[in-house]
């Protein structure tokens, strides 16, 4: 199922395959991007946040552990959605899909999203109400990253925001690798990979720094356990 309009923009024939890959990525938003904040909020609600943060354990390792734990489940969801796409929506990869490129695209997206999750977790120390914030952030990420439609149809200013979200590039690489079978030398793939690496390089230290700063600040104000 696709229209000429859709094919002209994306170069792809099958919208359902396009959307299946998009919504398979959706699980990564909740598990990775929101994983850190969700972990902190959970400890706050259960009254164990202060105890966790009093231990000498490395907090980044703690959040990373929680996120990777969630990631295991989201990988199951990811493959389940692809499988359901095959069964119900006739999702078929191209005859020669580029699996190494798919793997690399997903891996780089996950790393960049992990870096984002540190920033978001730090923000949720203060904002509290992680559930409500995530409910707003989720449709924003889905909208701007083009999970359900090509970002090329967005206005110019919105496309700029799309480019700042790692998911946009990860999705583009994965779709092109699975549905068009493009190789590493494809210009849009090269650009996407470069942006993902750059985003990881920028977001990782920023996330660590911001999280440490916000953690210190919340310890000072004594608002760690309050929710």
């Amino acid at each position: 199922m696709a229209s000429d309009f859709f094919t002209t923009i994306t170069g792809m024939q099958d919208y359902l395959a396009y959307a299946t890959i998009g919504f398979a990525f959706n699980s990564f938003i909740f598990s990775v991007a929101f994983g850190g904040s969700n972990a902190i909020r959970g400890e706050q609600q259960e009254g164990t946040a202060e105890l966790v943060f009093l231990t000498p354990a490395n907090k980044f390792a703690w959040i990373l552990g929680k996120t990777v734990g969630n990631l295991c489940f989201s990988l199951i969801t990811f493959f389940t959605i692809l499988f359901l796409g095959i069964i119900f929506f006739g999702f078929r990869p191209t005859t020669a899909p580029n699996f190494p490129l798919t793997f690399l695209g997903i891996l780089l997206t996950l790393i960049a999203l992990t870096a984002f999750s540190f920033v978001y977790a730090g923000v949720c120390f203060f904002a509290k109400r992680e559930e409500e914030l995530s409910q707003v952030l989720w449709p924003m990420m889905v909208f701007f990253s083009g999970l359900a439609f090509p970002v090329e149809i967005l206005p110019q200013w919105a496309q700029l925001i799309s480019w700042l979200i790692p998911l946009t590039h990860g999705l583009n690489i994965t779709r092109r690798a699975l549905l068009l079978g493009v190789c590493f030398s494809d210009p849009s793939v090269i650009l996407g990979l470069e942006i993902l690496v750059l985003q990881t390089i920028i977001l990782m230290p920023t996330g660590f720094l911001l999280f440490s700063k916000l953690e210190k600040s919340v310890r000072k104000s004594g608002a760690l356990a309050t929710y």
Partner: protein, 279 residues
């Protein structure tokens, strides 16, 4: 049959209602989230269609399903869905939240009517979300050029109140159910996508295969969306929506009775097993 003490019920209602509004206004992030939330959701639903052609092409295709305003269809669907979602979290998860906050045992020890507590949670959630109606209508006329086609304001009002009552009753039902299953988070999140799909938030239900339409007609949100679309976009009056309203009233009654039943089970289990606070 013991008659309810109206004064006591009112005191319970007022206390819960005011407490919820205080909690709501205490979190700046929550207020901002409430204000922003409808915008990306609405844009997402509309832009998914834009992947297939120009707005004119899409409007033309949707006319075969009796849809006169493409953006209007999505806007109304989104508002009702947002209400459903807010009430599911505000009412349905309210008792489970007491469990998370460690206050559930205290709540169940009080002589307050739990049904009144839940209805107060529902009404306070409606107040929190009421701004969406105003904002989305403003946005829709400014950005998408949607002009309502209303012939009976009374019909719009009756449909809105009936839909809200049905959504509150869903919340009341799930409140007890979530406490019993101890999986409020997972169930409430898990219900979002199927309800959004089957109730026809972003497309007419008649576009679904017949088998799937049967599922749609078991969901009150479907009727809520249908009545609001008919009265706001197709100048329908009360006689045009009587069947949907009747279905809404029947479902409201069923959900309220089932909710009361679930609450009774929760109370009985709480006294018997003493595991109310466990999560």
């Amino acid at each position: 049959l013991k008659m309810p003490d109206i004064t006591a019920e009112w005191r319970t209602f007022r206390a819960v209602f005011l407490r919820n509004l205080k909690i709501y206004t205490a979190y700046k992030a929550w207020i901002i989230a409430t204000i922003i939330w409808p915008i990306p959701l609405l844009a997402l639903n509309i832009y998914t269609y834009y992947a297939f052609g120009t707005p004119e092409d899409i409007a033309q295709r949707l006319q075969s399903y009796g849809i006169s305003s493409f953006a209007g269809m999505i806007i109304i669907g989104t508002i009702i869905y947002l209400f459903y979602n807010r009430l599911l979290w505000g009412t349905g998860v309210s008792i489970q939240s007491e469990r998370w906050m460690g206050t559930i045992e205290v709540l169940f020890l009080t002589p307050a009517n739990k049904m009144t507590v839940l209805i107060a949670c529902g009404i306070s959630s409606v107040v929190e979300a009421s701004w969406w109606i105003v904002s989305i209508f403003l946005l829709s006329s400014l950005i998408f050029g949607v002009t309502p086609n209303i012939s009976s304001w009374l019909a719009v009002f009756v449909c809105l109140i009936s839909t809200i009552a049905a959504l509150v009753s869903i919340g009341v039902f799930f409140a007890g159910f979530f406490v019993l299953t101890r999986a409020a988070d997972n169930l409430a999140s898990g219900l979002q996508a199927p309800i959004r799909f089957f109730s026809g938030v972003a497309f007419p239900v008649t576009a679904l295969p017949q088998m799937l339409q049967y599922i749609s007609y078991l969901i009150p949100v479907t009727y809520g969306i249908s009545t609001m679309r008919k009265t706001i976009l197709a100048s329908g009056n009360l006689s045009a929506v009587w069947f949907e309203l009747l279905c809404l009233y029947i479902m409201t009654t069923i959900f309220l009775i089932a909710g009361q039943f679930c609450l009774k089970i929760v109370e009985r289990q709480a006294k018997k097993k003493g595991t109310l606070y466990q999560y």
